[in-house]
């Protein structure tokens, strides 16, 4: 994507939604969708641009959520500072996990497996450690003031998460245009060849991991502030690892808008399934799983990639027919 204009116009269009929509149910749906889009953009930096498929992004989401909550509840730290600290600690956890796995040269299946294991270890630790509230979870006190990062109206929360999503879109856009992004894509396409050309693959992957973890951690921090309650099953649960990878893959892996589009599609389908079959546990995830299979099967580059392919094909055909007409 060359120009920043599409990002500006999409965000502007989304920003005016609360002026027309007053329904709390709709706004809540959009907030959760944007939250998943943000977590997905984090996954997309490492998985989409870097080709490293993590099955355990819950590790960063949960760390962000817990740090934000624990700093406020146990240490009386201001929520905004807690939010920033959550992002920082999430990035640090990314650096540790990335440092360990990439130095050991783990790729592909092994990488997916070890990231899954790290997230599970954190989940088990969080479900027994006293500081996280163990099995009971952590409740953030209701304090509806902007200083406490809590708002009376849903619209304010909506604009906050939209601002974070806008920032993540800009980061992806800048990444696409930067030298670092080019290295990262080179590593994805052929790690050995990239290394032969002088790219330090370990450092590049580690950098992507830290950036990726920070973005997904931000989604976790927001979750804690918005719902004011977390426990080990929410913060470090497999649901967020799955949704974080689902959205970019369905929307368009390694594209700026993939996670946002994927989140809209996935969440709409989930709600649609609930409307059709009633709200039963497991149903929305069955739908997600089927969509994931169908997208990989029939549109392996995601919805955005498939549209781009179709457009290229149409343009190619029309230019050829113009040429043929000229010759004729």
């Amino acid at each position: 994507m060359k120009s920043v204009l599409p990002i500006v116009s999409v965000i502007a269009a989304l920003a005016v939604v609360p002026l027309f929509v007053q329904s709390n149910v709709t706004l809540n749906f959009l907030v959760v969708t944007l939250l998943i889009a943000l977590a997905g953009q984090g996954w997309n930096i490492l998985g989409g641009y870097g080709g490293q498929y993590s099955f355990g992004h819950a590790a960063y989401f949960g760390t962000g959520a817990y740090v934000t909550a624990i700093l406020q509840v146990r240490y009386g730290v201001n929520a905004w500072i807690g939010f920033a600290a959550g992002i920082a600690v999430g990035a640090a956890v990314g650096a540790i996990i990335g440092g360990l796995t990439f130095r050991s040269g783990l790729r592909g299946s092994y990488f997916a497996l070890v990231t899954l294991a790290f997230a599970e270890v954190l989940r088990i630790v969080a479900s027994v450690a006293p500081i996280t509230g163990a099995g009971v979870g952590t409740l953030i006190k209701l304090d509806l003031r902007a200083q406490a990062l809590q708002f009376q109206s849903r619209a304010a929360f909506y604009w906050l998460i939209l601002a974070l999503v806008a920032l993540s879109l800009l980061i992806a856009w800048l990444l696409e245009r930067s030298r670092f992004g080019a290295w990262l894509i080179a590593v994805r396409e052929n790690e050995d060849a990239a290394m032969a050309l002088g790219v330090d693959a370990t450092v590049v992957k580690l950098g992507a991991m830290v950036l990726s973890a920070a973005i997904t951690a931000a989604a976790g921090c927001f979750y804690a502030q918005y719902f004011l309650f977390i426990d080990a099953g929410i913060a470090y649960g497999t649901w967020i690892s799955i949704e974080a990878l689902l959205t970019p893959i369905i929307g368009g892996v390694g594209t700026v808008f993939g996670p946002l589009l994927g989140a809209l599609v996935v969440k709409s389908l989930g709600e649609g399934a609930k409307l059709v079959a009633g709200d039963a546990p497991g149903l929305d995830l069955v739908v997600y799983g089927i969509v994931l299979v169908l997208v990989i099967w029939f549109a392996p580059r995601g919805l955005i990639g498939t549209v781009a392919d179709a457009r290229k094909w149409v343009l190619h055909r029309s230019s050829r027919s113009v040429r043929e007409a000229g010759h004729g």
Partner: protein
């Protein structure tokens, strides 16, 4: 503190449990050895097999050990179809896609079970569930001793299939050199599907051996599959003897750490061992360098 009178039964029980772990791991390592992907659907398939064994007993009155005759071929066919008609065509031969497809299948199966049967935990009561054998120095539960023996029969059968049949030779050829196997006329898609089917049949047999003494719910497979991942990594991805030895070792470690540290920390011990092995020696104890 720990007298031999406590320690020896704990070790023996660990070995009995470990044998069933080994069988689950055997299916996983077989699929990895040939297809070179980690089958993330393995745990969900185990849950499905446990439900199948449960309903075979409840609805048809079929003894779990007899149900093996029905479920093993049934799950072989299911696994074959899954690989041949879903995973294979959907992944376009890309490893990353294969990983995602097996993950998607895991999500679908597990949540379909959750949707259909809710999160309730179920058990069956066979008349011999609490029978024991007196070994003089300790008692061991009959179903677990049967399970232990059955695992080694299955391993022997697999070894015979791999070593002496045409399809076994074809599987080994594809595992070693896929392109070469294709060139001499081996149908790789068929071999992949047979391998996936064999791995799934292992899971079905493990389910039948487990169910007399175990419980089931839609998520139960996950507990096993993470242990199975650990065993496979410990024994070396793709190594059959590695899976057997790894399974027994993990069974004993789990039993002893449960005895010494308590249940919840025992679980963490396995995970930390798993991560440590992956980081330090990802090729495992028996595997070739990855």
């Amino acid at each position: 503190m720990l007298s031999p009178a406590i320690l020896i039964p704990a070790i023996l029980n660990g070995l009995l449990t470990g044998a069933v772990y080994a069988l689950v791991a055997l299916g996983l390592t077989l699929i990895y050895g040939v297809l070179h992907i980690i089958n993330f659907a393995h745990g969900a398939l185990l849950s499905v097999a446990l439900f199948a064994a449960f309903f075979a007993y409840q609805a048809l009155g079929l003894d779990p050990y007899l149900a093996i005759i029905l479920l093993a071929p049934g799950f072989f066919a299911f696994g074959y179809g899954l690989q041949r008609f879903v995973i294979g065509p959907a992944s376009h031969g890309d490893d990353r896609n294969m990983l995602l497809i097996t993950l998607a299948i895991a999500i679908i199966l597990e949540n379909a079970l959750l949707y259909a049967f809710r999160a309730d935990t179920r058990t069956i009561d066979v008349p011999y569930a609490f029978e024991t054998i007196d070994f003089g120095f300790t008692f061991l539960a009959v179903p677990r001793v049967i399970g232990f023996g059955a695992v080694f029969i299955v391993a022997l059968l697999l070894w015979l299939i791999m070593g002496w049949t045409d399809i076994g030779k074809a599987i080994r050829a594809v595992a070693k050199e896929k392109l070469g196997a294709e060139l001499v006329g081996i149908d790789v898609a068929h071999v992949y599907a047979v391998t996936f089917g064999l791995g799934t049949a292992c899971v079905a047999i493990a389910a039948c051996l487990l169910i007399p003494t175990y419980y089931l719910n839609p998520h139960v497979g996950n507990a096993f599959v993470l242990i199975a991942f650990t065993i496979v990594v410990l024994g070396g991805m793709g190594s059959v003897p590695g899976a057997l030895v790894g399974g027994l070792v993990i069974g004993v470690i789990e039993s002893l750490s449960g005895l010494i540290l308590g249940e919840s920390l025992g679980q963490i011990g396995i995970f930390l061992l798993f991560i440590a092995v992956l980081l330090v020696r990802p090729s495992g104890l028996f595997g070739a360098r990855a």
